[in-house]
Symmetry: C2
Subunit: 317 residues, 2 copies
């Protein structure tokens, strides 16, 4: 059976899976990314793992897809990723192809997820949509006419860094008011503490220190009717609604597909997003754009996305 | 010789030209749009004009491209255009094809201009760019991977209605703070009067009533160093700079191509746009994006754009 390898490179872990044409995960393993200070050594280990699995499951490796922070589709490089152990520019595709012997492709995790949604998820019939990842940060993958948009430099789809509130919260990118400072899990936690600072008390959340407060805590509190938690979801939805209305005015997509920690909160986040997006949309776009949860399982989005990238490119070869 | 017809339908005038493959205008005429209350009658007149010109210049009509406000590429209709004499939905492509007997295509004027720039202008080598029209309003045409983006409903590219200042100036679309209320010729005039209202006096502009003040007046005053006029250009550039930085985070284009009345002011508008865009861009996009004036002559952009649409589609048939 023909298969591809899909791999999600994260700062702590690298998840690797063997995936067939229908998106079934045949086998799965992981490596401890942080323990490999040399990329060459890491790449050899990845190749060994993949070949071993292929032999064990009697499948034939056809292509290798990688989702990684700052992974650039055009150059095949990971460029200056702050949370990975390898500094500078790493020729990921060049080195991996040499070690593993199959065509290798890379992009960032949100772009991979967008392709995954098209091939294995719910976006099979969608030609124009934007995938939004609401995790620690906010990522995005833009699809136009059924093709992922890489832009001229491979860095298209940074919707999390659209400024949603001028002179707003300080962002890791060095600017102020980026969507990601409000609509990520981190943003949600910031809102809770900002509300505390402004004198609003929450019986459920006020006792938890910032570093220990999780998105799940806030979700649980909101489900119990905690006013601070509900206001945090409302603000995240408002900022997202504004930015999605802006993105609509560029590419006019038929859907936004949401996934990641915050998206799992369901109605708590979908309802405020929908309300604010519709309010902010130019009238010609109103009541047309679907807001959908991802069709892929949470812990499989990243590797299925990377595998989808590999299948998608392999078909063109 | 094979030629196409390019037509720009405006509220007052319709410009019509016969254009060859290299963008040469062989013949040109115009109709008084406002005097035709029935679209059928207008369409017959257009067809007669085009056939007469084709006969006179001994050329063969191959296709017909139309740029019109609210012209929808997918439906072939003009939909609810406030400044045209025909109300409701008009089946422009259906009726025109019947009258003129060649394949007919329609889109809005800014989209047509974006295609024109690709085929007859300076964007021949650009695969990812956004055309921005700075006239009475602000229009845009988005190009990704060498193809115009129509979006799922044909209405992509409404960059003029991205909100650049929250709760800002009232816009004709019913919302507040749209880019077009600052960065169009109308926006520039509004800024001059707002500055007057706030106590700033201009020796050159304070005596002119709102309805008589033109973009050219403000440009002339700015060239003479008038502080109010210069501040108006600065604000237009700031609002545009913010929005272009936002658009970059969606599609990562290699260039923004500007045309229309305000773009003709050259350095007066390009300098503030560039300064504010670079300041507002996410660091990975800085010093990469070109800001270019259109390569087409001002009074030919619209008809060359419509002709380019026709050539572009004719090649695919």
């Amino acid at each position: 059976m023909d298969v591809v390898i899909g791999m999600d490179i994260g700062g702590t872990n690298s998840d690797l899976a063997i995936v067939n044409k229908t998106g079934e995960i045949i086998a799965r393993t992981h490596l401890d990314t942080a323990s490999y200070s040399e990329f060459e050594v890491y790449a050899s280990e990845v190749a060994d793992c993949a070949k071993k699995l292929a032999k064990e499951y009697k499948v034939e490796l056809k292509a290798f897809g990688i989702g990684a922070p700052n992974g650039n589709y055009y150059s095949g490089m990971i460029e200056l990723a702050p949370n990975l152990p390898w500094k500078g520019q790493i020729d990921v595709v060049g080195i991996m192809e040499e070690k593993i012997g199959v065509p290798t492709f890379i992009t960032n995790d949100a772009n991979a997820a967008a392709i995954g949604e098209m091939i294995f998820g719910i976006a099979g019939n969608l030609k124009n949509y934007v995938m939004i990842t609401l995790g620690t940060g906010v990522g995005s993958g833009v699809v136009v006419n059924g093709e992922l948009v890489y832009g001229h430099d491979g860095f298209a789809g940074e919707v999390g860094h659209i400024i949603s509130t001028e002179n707003g919260r300080v962002c890791g990118c060095g600017r102020k008011g980026c969507l990601e400072t409000y609509a990520s899990v981190t943003g949600l936690r910031k809102t809770v503490f900002e509300l505390h600072t402004n004198g609003k008390r929450s019986g459920l959340l006020s006792e938890v220190p910032f570093e220990k407060l999780t998105g799940k805590d806030i979700e649980q509190a909101a489900l119990k009717g905690d006013a601070v938690a509900l206001e945090a979801f409302e603000l995240a939805g408002k900022e997202l609604g504004k930015v999605l209305a802006t993105v609509a005015a560029v590419n006019s997509p038929e859907a936004f597909v949401l996934f990641g920690g915050l998206a799992n909160a369901g109605k708590l986040i979908f309802d405020p997003i929908r309300k604010h997006m519709e309010e902010q949309l130019l009238p010609i776009y109103r009541n047309k754009i679907q807001l959908l949860p991802s069709g892929m399982k949470g812990n499989e989005v990243a590797i299925l996305g990377a595998a989808a990238l590999a299948w998608n490119e392999f078909v063109r070869i």
